[in-house]
Structures are given as C-alpha cells and as structure tokens.
Amino acid sequence: MSNEPSLREQLSALADGELAPDQARFLLRRIDAEPALAAEWQRLHLARACLRRERIALPDVGFADAVAARIRAEAAPAALGGWRRTALGGAIAAGMAALALFAVAPRTDVAPTAAPVLAEVAPLDTRDLALRAAPGELQRASDRTWSPLPVAAPFDLRVESYFLRHGGAATAAPRGGFVPYVNVVATPAAAPPIPLRDPQSQGEAARR
C-alpha cells in the first residue's frame, strides 16, 4: 500500500490524462514496480465504470496477474532452445564461427559425396508443378550440366530465428500468408538425398 499522497494524486491525474508527459513516464515506471499502485489503478477504473454505469463484470481474482504471467511466458520473441549439433554433424558454438560459414552462398559449397548421379530429379518437378503457363522455365538453370547439389547451410539458431520471425510476421506476401515459414522448413538439408540411379534400384533400396 502506498502512503505517498502525491504519488497517488499523480495516479489520479494520470488516469485523467492530466499528467505532464515526463511525470507520466516516471509514474508509469513506479507503477511497474509497485503492485499497490497497480491495484489502485485497477480500482480507480472499476469505480469509474460504476460512476458511468457501464456494463461490467468482476473478473476472477488475479485476472490481470494471470494475463501478465502468460505474456511473460510468451514474451521472448526469439528464444533459442535445445540446440545440440549442426546439421553437418559437428558440434559448434552459436557465434561467429557459425556465422562465417553461414554467410557462404549454399551453391558454392559442394558436398564431396554429392556431385554425380542425380539425373532423375528435374523431370519430376515440371510435371508435378503443373506450371503450364510457363513451360520450360524450370529446367533452364540445369538442363545441360548439373550444378552441384546444394549442401546444408550450417545451422545457426540465431540466424534461423531471423527467418522464423520474419515468416511469422510477414503476412504480406501471399505465399507467406498461406504457406508461411516455407523458407524456414525448406532450408537445404544436410544429408545429400539418396542418389536415384533408376526407379527400380530405388525401389529395392526402399525395400531393404
């Protein structure tokens, strides 16, 4: 309970919007730190609603505290948790070493085991994509020589979180709205895909 009359008088003026901005800022910080002032603020508005004969109901005891607790719980906009190893298999620390690796464009990193043998992938794309309005465009990049298979970007949770938060917020792009976070889930994977020599041997591999 605050016994400081001037502070309580300021609170009253604040509720009326009659406190100078710098005083208001100061007082708001005091309320943050003093539960008694926050409780008084609450009662003041309850009394106001009664005076104005507004339609109100009394919330549960501790209603505001419960909301505040939930906000605290979800407040960390980018918490990094449970991270263990990079996608490349080696344990690295979150930090500059990882960032330096990350900044390399994926295409220039060639997985030593991945380069040859990936002949069957592209034709599948065009058929399934049904991009009939723009035939041929899909293959353009790689119809003569196969570019090396991209390897995984080394995993850095902090960098990941920028993309994740952008995906969470960017409702603007229609793609972002309907298939959000697609860029986050579909980062090039670490392990090179299983080489497709021909459909038959692939089937055998699956049975094994």
Partner: protein
C-alpha cells in the same frame, strides 16, 4: 491528454517493447472486457478464459495497432470476435446482434445473472456499485461536483476549473480526494481477496 491519448501512450510503450505497460491496459479494461464476453458466454469459468484470451490476442496484435481508432474500440472488437469464435468452435451459434461499443446501458441484476457471473461475484459487484454511489453521495459538494464533471460528463481539468471557478491544481486535488474517499469504501470489499 484525453483518455484515448493515455491509452495511446501505453500502447506506444508496449510497441516499444515495454511489456509491463500492457498490464495497466488490462487492469483498466478488464471489468469491461469480462462484461462484454459475459454477454456471449454464460459459463463463468469459460467467460474468464475467453476474456483472458482476448487480452492475449490483443497483446500479440498490438504490433499492428494503428492508433487511429480508439484502443478500447479495437479491444472491444477483438473481445466480441474472440467470444463469437469460441461459440462457433463449440458448435453454438453466436448472437447476431452486437452490443454497441459505448454500451453504457445499466442492466438490472436479473438480466445480469443470466450471463457469465457467479452469484457471489455478481453480489460483490452490486455491493461495489452501491459503495461507489454511497461514497459520492457522502462527499462534500465541491468534491462531488468535481468528480461528477470529470467521470460522468468527461470534462477536462481546465474545463472543470473554468466551470468551478478555481485553479486547475485545486481541481486535481479535489478529484483525487473524491477518488480517495471512494477507494476507501471499495478497497475493503475487494481487499480480502484481490488487493495487495
């Protein structure tokens, strides 16, 4: 600074990353929001949950709040739509008529008991309302006039000073003293359970 401007100042603080400023908005509007939600949802516990959810969703959406409409108008919409969606998800049909935003209609207790309130909370609400009225009735005339001009007529301190022919500092202190008297009456009613 109008009431909207106070809300706006709090919203700006929340948008700037000061989450605790939101707590003041919750404390300011919780009675009204629970009141709105209770119009849609009769069960007390459900009503509390949905009202809480409305605040949480407003908090998450605050990054998009433009400040062109009044904060309460916006919050009101989120609260009603959260309540309606809750009913839809329960397979119930939400009422088609919306309560007007500035619903200041005083409904009698018989009607109220149909919506989301327990008899104890409803009784307490009535006691508080009676205590506020009694407190104001018992005020010296100049305090009573000051608080009425402020809370009921919505006048600014300057307008009240003009009307009462006194300095603004006096208005400020009269309003505070009136509020203090009201608070002394309602605090004990709330104290045992919810006031620190």
């Amino acid at each position: 600074m109008s009431e909207n401007e106070i809300d706006q100042a709090l919203v700006l603080r929340v948008q700037a990353g000061e989450r605790r400023a939101f707590d003041l908005l919750v404390r300011k509007y919780q009675h009204k929001v629970v009141g709105i939600v209770s119009r849609y949802i009769g069960d007390w516990a459900e009503c509390q949950d949905v009202a809480q959810e409305a605040f949480i969703r407003a908090y998450r959406a605050l990054g998009n709040f433009r400040g062109e409409s009044a904060f309460y108008t916006w919050l009101y919409k989120i609260a009603t739509n959260t309540a309606k969606n809750w009913l839809v998800s329960q397979g119930r049909r939400p009422p088609t008529d919306d309560v007007p935003v500035d619903d200041a209609v005083h409904l009698d207790a018989a009607v109220r008991l149909k919506d989301g309130s327990t008899p104890e909370r409803e009784l307490l609400r009535q006691e508080i309302e009676a205590a506020v009225t009694a407190a104001v009735d018992g005020l010296p005339e100049e305090l009573k006039l000051a608080i009425t001009l402020r809370e009921v007529d919505g006048l600014s301190y300057e307008e009240i000073a003009e009307s009462m022919n006194c300095p603004i500092g006096t208005v400020r202190s009269r309003i505070f003293r009136a509020r203090d008297a009201i608070d002394q009456r309602i605090r004990p009613l709330l104290n045992d359970t919810e006031s620190e």
